[in-house]
């Protein structure tokens, strides 16, 4: 029973850390829903600020969703084949290739964004379109897709599976789409959710790349924090929370599906 006080102390500490992270979230939700945050919730609850955010920023919300979905599509097309190559041909060359792809994550987004602007800034049409932001997001999220898919592919015996399929007469395309992809579906799904979440929340690259006509959600958030009243900034933050919570829940659910240790804990 000597361990009991230690348990209580550690629990209290952990709850305190949790409060540090969650209290401001609750405060901002309250601020976004109250008539006047300075007075407090007493001033009455309202959806007025959320409505105002919608009328001001609905375009950026749709733009963010569009870019995030396009980013998932692009990282799937580019990343899944790369993960397959890395899984089937582990070696010095592929290792170097992997290292290269991770660079946009290892280097601050600001550097990547400056480089893109200095190199492609003169191409006005491209510079002003949402595709410019998409490029930044794809560079930043591709390593996460590759790693997620590679983690699953490395754990299964792809060579044997493919050999079996080949001995039954399957060509490469039908092996890839009929055997490799279905076996890696968990990694692909986890990677897609990760890419979606990262793209919706990306700010460091996007802030440099955006134009007045291509504002994503985080860019709009920075705008609202800097220039609008606290209640509107908070309401916009609520909109952001509402968008990412389903993604986070899906990711946690997927992680538990795959990890038996976590699954055991869920059996109450």
């Amino acid at each position: 029973m000597k361990a009991a006080p230690r348990f209580v102390a550690q629990l209290a500490f952990t709850v305190l850390v949790c409060a540090f992270l969650i209290v401001p979230v609750v405060l901002s939700v309250l601020a976004g829903l109250s008539e006047n945050f300075f007075v407090g919730v007493r001033s009455g609850l309202t959806l007025r600020w959320v409505g105002q955010v919608w009328s001001l920023y609905s375009q950026s919300i749709f733009l963010s969703l569009g870019i995030a979905l396009a980013c998932v599509a692009a990282t799937l097309v580019l990343g899944v084949p790369v993960a397959y190559v890395l899984a089937r041909r582990p070696g010095r060359v592929t290792r170097l290739f992997e290292e290269l792809l991770v660079l946009p994550v290892a280097v601050p987004g600001l550097a990547t964004a400056l480089a893109l602007i200095l190199f492609y800034g003169e191409w006005r049409g491209f510079r002003a379109s949402w595709l410019f932001i998409l490029v930044g997001h794809v560079l930043f999220t591709l390593p996460f897709m590759v790693r997620s898919v590679l983690a699953v592919m490395a754990a299964i015996d792809l060579a044997t599976l493919e050999e079996a399929a080949a001995s039954l007469g399957a060509g490469f395309a039908s092996r890839f789409f009929g055997v490799v992809v279905p076996n890696a579906r968990h990694g692909i799904l986890a990677g897609a959710l990760m890419v979606l979440t990262l793209s919706v929340g990306e700010f460091n690259i996007t802030w440099m790349l955006h134009t007045p006509l291509t504002k994503t959600i985080p860019v709009g958030l920075a705008d609202a924090y800097a220039s609008l009243r606290l209640e509107v900034g908070s309401a916009y933050t609520i909109v952001f929370f509402v968008m990412i919570i389903p993604l986070l829940v899906a990711m946690q659910w997927l992680a538990r599906e795959r990890s038996p240790a976590m699954a055991r804990r869920d059996e109450r």
Binding site: L21, L118, A222, Y225
Partner: protein, 275 residues
């Protein structure tokens, strides 16, 4: 032989789209960035400006000190919480884990806003101190605000890493130490911490690199302390000093990349030695 060659061609073709995109949109632009860095009025000496120019060096120094402090604080806080959550099963544990990992997806700007909610002019801490002592404590817009913000986005990541590493620890080793008469502190110092070392090193490096490059949080807080990313941004946008902005961002990129690479070597060596 021919089959092997055909397989190699196929692998090359599969990697080609990603390689093309990466080359066209990252390698080439980065090469340009490196040359722009040397094209300003200072020439290639711009790359040394970060240590020779007093303002840039002050910016670099405060960013490094801040990032190191955040890294150590995060490792301690997340180490305790992560170890506790992985080792104990109790009612509400899963909810705690979910709440602790929720801020993972917040962009830096939102983290900055969370700090304003806590310690800003209309923040919680200010109104509590106002009521208790009659004066508002507001620190969101100082280096303390940055520290709190960086801590905020670092804790969730490191907790997850610690939990995964604790799960893999061999508890028999701790039992053995205990049966040999080691007290809890000795077990922690001599068995648990060495076992967690690789995870702590790599999580710490990620934390440091993220803090060095963090832009959104400082941007929202609009502090009077210029961390390096804000300095770069100001040089680029307000003064159009493309050369200096490029040089500083390359140096910053080299620092974060080196920190990550170094940690991987260290952590990897430890793993190999343990195996």
């Amino acid at each position: 032989m021919a089959a092997v060659a055909r397989g190699d061609v196929r692998m090359g073709l599969l990697a080609l789209p990603a390689l093309t995109v990466f080359g066209a949109f990252w390698l080439l632009p980065m090469a340009r960035l490196v040359s722009v860095g040397a094209s300003g009025p200072r020439g290639a000496a711009a790359y040394l400006a970060i240590v020779t120019d007093r303002n840039y060096f002050a910016s670099l120094a405060s960013t490094v000190v801040l990032s190191i402090a955040v890294t150590f604080a995060t490792l301690v806080v997340s180490g305790i919480a992560g170890m506790f959550l992985q080792r104990n099963d109790f009612f509400g544990r899963n909810v705690l884990v979910s709440l602790l990992t929720f801020p993972l997806a917040f962009p830096g700007v939102v983290v900055g806003f969370m700090v304003i909610m806590l310690a800003g002019r209309q923040g919680l801490i200010g109104s509590i101190t106002d009521r208790l002592f009659g004066s508002k404590l507001v620190f969101a817009y100082s280096i303390a605000g940055l520290f709190v913000g960086y801590l905020y986005f670092s804790i969730p990541r490191v907790i997850l890493t610690v939990m995964a590493a604790v799960e893999k620890l061999d508890r028999a080793l701790e039992e053995a130490a205990r049966s040999l008469g080691a007290n809890p502190w000795q077990v922690l110092r001599d068995v648990v911490l060495p076992g967690l070392r690789p995870a702590l090193i790599s999580a710490g490096a990620i934390c440091f690199a993220t803090s060095m490059g963090a832009f959104g949080t400082a941007f929202t807080l609009a502090t009077n302390i210029n961390v390096l990313p804000i300095t770069i941004y100001t040089e680029f946008t307000n003064y159009a000093n493309f050369g200096i902005a490029a040089a500083l961002s390359i140096v910053l990129g080299i620092i974060t990349w080196t920190a990550l690479a170094l940690a991987r070597t260290l952590a990897g060596a430890t793993v190999a030695a343990a195996a």
